[in-house]
Structures are given as structure tokens and as C-alpha cells.
Symmetry: C2
Subunit: 197 residues, 2 copies
């Protein structure tokens, strides 16, 4: 996968939007710092939505080596195993998935690729101090600014991850008091708002 | 659940948008008519997105009685069992879920409730003859027209279901040739386009 990336920079394959799904550090429902397990459907659903809109890369970010091994097996099934033959569309979507041990590694990878640090944007179900509007972020992506959008698993990104981000998107509001979207839904909606026509 | 519905019509609880997730008849990848199995995460993810935007009811539609029993157990866990205590937010989302044996039953239910037949709108990954724009459908919902939006599982709604619909929404396009969103992503994006601000 990495060889292909070298030969075909993200700039040439679609947009300059990149995603990272963070599994550590995130918070649980008591706002305690935890690491979460990788969820198969988070990989598939978000990769399919990302591929639909021309997202450059989708990083699954976890420091746990056993989770990397699990992900490598899962991806191999769809990249070169039986899944690649039975479902070529899934193979295409999962081709944009990358594994990373940390947010730092993702930022380093993208900085090398774009030769400039990406704008790191957190997403959250609660309002944050520094925000950028969906419209402004969409314009930056249209203008080819490299962007890394962070999504939290479990009950969301840890405060230290949000502090590492340059800015954040406002929470998705559906006009009700209820704000418990799955990360799969939130990612799909945000990608559509940023890249949909 | 039905008693609650009687006492609290959908008109009073949010919008006049309703969803049905169709498990039969749908098509497989060879365009053959099939019935699909209920998927736990389709119930949860779409209910959470629906609840976020004030969707009135979300019908899980399958003619298979064993699937109804499975769904009743699943819903009971979150409505009155351990899940209700451990995750009240999930309880709220799943409170809008209804079970139906067929599209006809869903339409009959909504017609009784609203005293007028809902506008039945199909969704599809391929363009259809009769379409309504996202903007026009959003305006109808804002004007309190009862709407039933149909989502297909597997590889999509069977032609006979699309023929039963009054109209359809254009496919979601992300500006690429890839159009293989999960039904969970597609439903989330479409709800946001129709009810998001």
C-alpha cells in the first residue's frame, strides 16, 4: 500500500481531505481516559463514505499492536484474499485505509507527503473554543489545503487530542436536544457537508 | 410502544419525516429478488441519526417472523432491560423504532396516524425516472407533509418497491465514480440533507 502512495500522491487522487479515527486516547461515558477496540464496521463504513467523496487517506489510529495485527488480517482479506474477488468495490474503499500508532505518526506521514503540515481539525459532539465553519473548511479543501479531520471512538476524543488540533468543527445539530450519533453517521454527514455538492 | 404512539402523534414530536428500512423485497448483487437478515447496527445507527434530527418513526420492515422475534428481544433489552439503565440515550433513540411486516403495513399505519397517505419516496444508488430534489423534499417536510422515506438493505430496493413509491431522491454523489455507501451512511447523509440546518 505504501508504495502505491509514494507513486500516486493524495493530491492526484481526489481531495486533500484525510481522516483519522482515534482509538486512544479517547474518553468513556464518565470522561475517563481509555483506549477503545477497533470496530470492523467503523473501518468499512467510513472507508466507503470516504471513497465516495474522494477522501485521500483514512487512518485507523491505535497504539495497540494486537489491534494492528487484527486490522492487517482484515485488510488483507479484502485487498488480496477472497474478499478482493467477491467484492472489488470494497477492495477499492479499503485501499485508502492506513494504520497508525498515534496522531503524531499520522501528522508526520501527511507532512512528508504534502511537504507542509496538515490543518488538524477535531470533531466533537460538544462545542469547543476554537472552531471553523463547515463552509470555511470546505473552501480550504477546495483550495487544496491539506486537512486532517479527527474522529473519536467511544465517547469522543480526549481533551489532550483536541488540544493538539489546530481547530474544530461545530457539533452536528439536528435541531433536537439529542446528540448521540454513531461515529459512522457523524463521519458520513461531515464528509458530505465538506465535499458533497 | 403502540399505546405511546396513539397518545403522542408524530406531528407533535418533531418532524413529519418517517423512515422504513426494507428487508424484502430487495436485490442481491446479481439483481435477483431476495430477503435480507436484520442487522443490529442498521437498527441502532439509523435510529440514533433519526432521533438526532427529529424523525417521527423508523420502521424496520421484514416479512420474516423470526426476525421480528429477534428485533423484539433486541428492543426490549434497550427499552426495559439492562440497556435502558446503562444507556438511556440509546433507549430514547430506539423508542422511535417500529416493526412492520410490509411496506403496505407501514403506509397503512402512517395513513391512519396522519389521516392522509404519506408521500412515499424511494432512495437508490442509481438514478430513477421520477425524482424530487433534496431541497423540494426538505420544503415539503418543513411544510408538515407526511413523508415516508424508503431505504433498501442488501444491494437496494427491488424494482417493485420503487414502482410503489410516489417519487425518489437522486443518488448521493460524492463527485467520484464510487457509489457504494452503506445504508447507515446513506441514511445519515440523506437525513442531514433533509433536516440539517
Amino acid at each position: 500500500m505504501e508504495k502505491k502512495t509514494m507513486a500516486l500522491p493524495a493530491e492526484g487522487t481526489g481531495t486533500t481531505l484525510n481522516l483519522a479515527l482515534i482509538h486512544h486516547p479517547v474518553v468513556n461515558k464518565r470522561s475517563e481516559l481509555i483506549g477503545s477496540a477497533v470496530t470492523n464496521l467503523d473501518v468499512h463504513d467510513i472507508a466507503r463514505a470516504a471513497k465516495t467523496y474522494g477522501v485521500a487517506k483514512y487512518f485507523i489510529t491505535t497504539p495497540y499492536h494486537d489491534q494492528h495485527l487484527l486490522l492487517q488480517e482484515l485488510l488483507a482479506h479484502w485487498q488480496t484474499g477472497h474478499g478482493a474477488k467477491s467484492n472489488p468495490a470494497r477492495q477499492q474503499a479499503l485501499a485508502i485505509v492506513r494504520l497508525a500508532l498515534s496522531l503524531e505518526e499520522v501528522v508526520r506521514n501527511l507532512t512528508e507527503e504534502y511537504r507542509v503540515a496538515p490543518l488538524v481539525v477535531a470533531t466533537s459532539a460538544v462545542p469547543r473554543q476554537k472552531t471553523i465553519s463547515y463552509r470555511d473548511l470546505a473552501e480550504k479543501i477546495a483550495g487544496k489545503t491539506p486537512v486532517l479531520l479527527l474522529f473519536g471512538t467511544a465517547h469522543g476524543l480526549a481533551p489532550e487530542v483536541i488540544a493538539q488540533a489546530d481547530t474544530s468543527l461545530p457539533p452536528i445539530s439536528g435541531g433536537t436536544a439529542y446528540n448521540h450519533l454513531s461515529v459512522r453517521s457523524a463521519a458520513s454527514i461531515i464528509i458530505d457537508r465538506l465535499l458533497g455538492s
